[in-house]
């Protein structure tokens, strides 16, 4: 048997397996989030469908499928249809570069981190176009807020990661993970880690930064006019994004698959799960800031901090390189 065909088949198999695993975890995450919110609000959450309510996502999907697939008459139809596809697919494509464990992962790129930033940067199109094409005032306001918020926070999302790149000396995610064998980057790059988490939550437009959706002001923001599975795709995109941000933070700051005793993949999933639970905790605990506060925080506090972090890290790296040379 010839080599390329076998390796292509193996890659394809992994691709399908990862896709299925990600979508299943995103579905389960909708259940887990509601149970966790219930726990922290002294109630149960969905516990009726199946054992512990585990089949709740199945019931939700059936319900969404049965719903009327409504397209507003005034909507810009092709763009309206495209928006949820963009949101969901960008989230899934970005998973291609995540190094789950040695030998597990779809694509190993020398510029994996740049690919991640580029693809997640496209998510904003789904939100802006969805908000614009719906031809509704709430959608438009949500879309505008989404555009401003995501572009503002993307600036220092990238900058916060550059400290890691400087320390590891590579954009390759596997090299970055292996560079953390001695010490996880969360220790020297604690500022970068915190900034990345804040920017990640803002990019996901999840609470407390869910201003593009802001139920009590904008009905449902950019996806007000969406129903049925088109709404479902926005929803899946959000939860896939949560897992993606958790996985990326694990890769860049928490040493990826590195860890004693347990197999590498278990360590990776464990660390990602902890971060995802933390995102849910943020939702349970924190109120939504006002829009101008969000913008002021992003541009006046977090961006200078990210730049400072980059300069200091750069200084240390240069000093270290000068010392060894």
């Amino acid at each position: 048997m010839n080599e390329p065909v076998v390796s292509a088949a193996a890659t394809f198999g992994q691709l399908v397996a990862i896709l299925v695993a990600v979508l299943t975890s995103a579905a389960l995450l909708t259940w887990a989030e509601r149970r966790l919110l219930g726990l922290w609000q002294d109630r149960y959450g969905p516990n009726r469908v199946g054992p512990f309510g585990l089949l709740q996502p199945v019931a939700d999907v059936i319900k969404l499928m049965m719903k009327e697939d409504f397209i507003p008459p005034a909507a810009d139809k092709p763009v309206y249809l495209m928006a949820p596809i963009v949101v969901m697919s960008t989230g899934l494509i970005a998973f291609a570069v995540i190094p789950f464990a040695p030998g597990i992962g779809v694509a190993d790129m020398s510029i994996g981190l740049l690919f991640f930033l580029a693809i997640t940067g496209l998510t904003v199109y789904g939100i802006v176009l969805g908000g614009w094409a719906s031809n509704s005032k709430y959608s438009l306001l949500g879309g505008l807020r989404g555009a401003a918020q995501m572009i503002s926070y993307e600036v220092f999302l990238g900058l916060a990661l550059m400290g890691v790149v400087l320390q590891a000396g590579s954009f390759d995610l596997r090299t970055i993970v292996e560079a953390q064998a001695g010490l996880w980057f969360v220790v020297p790059q604690i500022l970068g880690f915190v900034l990345f988490l804040i920017a990640g939550v803002a990019e996901l437009h999840r609470l407390p930064f869910d201003l593009p959706e802001a139920e009590n002001e904008l009905v449902a923001g950019f996806h007000t006019e969406y129903s049925s599975m088109k709404f479902g795709m926005f929803f899946v995109g959000e939860y896939v994004g949560m897992i993606l941000t958790g996985a990326m933070a694990t890769t860049l700051f928490l040493g990826g698959w590195l860890g004693p005793v347990l197999p590498p993949i278990v360590w990776f999933l464990l660390k990602t799960a902890v971060l995802v639970v933390f995102f849910v905790l943020l939702r349970a605990a924190l109120p939504r800031p006002r829009y101008d506060q969000l913008m002021a925080l992003g541009w006046k506090v977090l961006l200078p901090l990210a730049l400072l972090n980059l300069v200091v890290t750069g200084g240390f790296v240069v000093a270290g390189a000068g010392g060894t040379a």
Binding site: G38, L39, W40, Q41, D42, R43, Y44, L281, L282, A284, A285, L286, V301
Partner: protein, 176 residues
Amino acid sequence: MTGMLKTGLLKTLGLVLLHSGHRRETVQYPEEKPYLPPRWRGRIVLSRDPDGEERCVACYLCAAACPVDCIALQKTEDETGRWYPEFFRINFSRCIFCGMCEEACPTYAIQLTPDFEMGEYDRRDLVYEKEDLLISGPGKYHDYSFWRVAGKAIGGKDKGEAVDEEPPVDTRRLMP
């Protein structure tokens, strides 16, 4: 300011996380029944006096008091002169469980009970007739019997024979 903001954030996160160990307030209803106090205003019943006879004397006060007109009845009399309802009908699809009928009732016949599980698939099944409403006991008032204290003569009890009742005065005599 930023420092205060940060400590406030960490504090609220910690406090919410502490709720993981709290008892859940939810009552898991079909398996676990909630406690209903005895004066809960639920399903309406017609009670009987300690002798096991119907308490209702068909005075129509409950029907008059009902703000949604869900009570219908017809008065009739037995051979001893005792009043009772020929039919007594409550339409529970209209009833708002306000308890006005219970307050209006002069004989403690109509009472509201701690029971709300009366869902039906057919709206017509929510119309309760007298045999659906009558219970076998005296409900919340164990010893009260209207006919024992009422001044009206019925079979087996003449004027002046009720509890605490003076003998009737002959109005044609002028002597005190």
